[in-house]
Symmetry: C2
Subunit: 204 residues, 2 copies
């Protein structure tokens, strides 16, 4: 009897360096697997089915949706995106931890359907640093940047709906904290008691 892996859901406002953090985490841990989404949009050059996305028709997606086969889904510009439950569950059973980077609305859908998941909220080290990171992109007008800043602050209020807050100051430190959370969660009595009580033959 092996212990199941963890489903980890990661959110956080733009300007927090989530992308870099996720890449670093995957590179350092070969027992962490990125979740693969389903989508009805067309593959772009170089995208591989079942690696980048599960590509499917609108009709197939809707049928699966009806059968409750997605942990969350959303429609963006007329295309569906969703997290296939079967893929996640298969990885967890193998003992892999699954990482899913998603916005707050998606995360809250998962909270309802998969209560064993662990919800991580990534935050920048300070207001000033958030501003600096948003400005350093250099692709937006001052108005757009100010709008992005406000929406980031609005999002930070939502951290209360998560389980853990990860300060992404240095990527090494933030990565180590997420690894610590994985180890702690797997050692929690809730997740491990059946395993241990079995091992010592004192289950009842």
């Amino acid at each position: 009897m092996e212990q199941n892996g963890l489903l980890m859901v990661i959110s956080g406002p733009s300007g927090t360096g989530k992308g870099t953090l996720v890449k670093h985490l995957l590179k350092r841990n070969n027992n962490i697997q990125l979740s693969v989404s389903a989508t009805t949009r067309n593959p772009r050059p170089g995208e591989v089915d079942e690696v980048n996305y599960f590509f499917m028709t609108k009709n197939d997606f809707e049928k699966k949706l009806e059968h409750g086969e997605f942990l969350e889904h959303a429609e963006v510009y007329g295309n569906y995106y969703g997290t296939p439950k079967a893929f996640v569950e298969k990885q967890l059973k193998k003992g892999n931890n699954v990482l899913l980077e998603i916005d707050i609305l998606g995360a809250m859908q998962i909270r309802e359907k998969f209560k064993e998941a662990v919800f991580l909220f990534i935050i920048p080290p300070s207001l000033e640093e958030l501003q600096r990171r948003i400005e350093s992109r250099g692709t937006e007008t001052p108005e757009q940047m100010s709008k992005r800043m406000n929406s980031s602050l609005e999002e930070i209020k939502e951290l209360k709906k998560y389980d853990y807050v990860i300060l992404n100051d240095e990527v090494e430190k933030a990565t180590a904290l997420i690894e610590a959370i994985i180890n702690a969660e797997l050692a929690s009595v809730e997740r491990s008691q059946h395993y241990w009580l079995n091992l010592f033959g004192v289950r009842r």
Copy 2:
């Protein structure tokens, strides 16, 4: 505004190597402080007041007990032992984590009075290893050893009342797991949200 430290309560049956683990943990982390107990028994040669114990009279102990100044207490062979609340709280406010090694009955008293504490249960790697460790003491009759083995197994059932299970296979690994739990707990939304919401000025 600094974050408070954690009160960590450690229990586990005999033969699990708790003592060695605690020593290792203290050696590696200078922000972990061992809890100092109060007692009404006489100091032994070399024992220092306020370091090994807070030594006090039975009368003083009972007065403090009446005023709710202990997180837990017990009477052993006519002497009182207890964990002074004030000492623990002072350390936590300084940002130190406090470690308290105690039996299950004491731990459950603390669970009632100090719900923010984290409860760790230490287990041996296997039945065979538990037996080997109990036998290797070499100070007991086969009957005493068999009794100790049974009572250890009875205790293992109680792990359900704790928050985390620490397998003490290798002391380095078990120490790292406890350190991971400290970091994860301090990053939990429950413990850190006020700090972060304040920092970003979005508290409400």
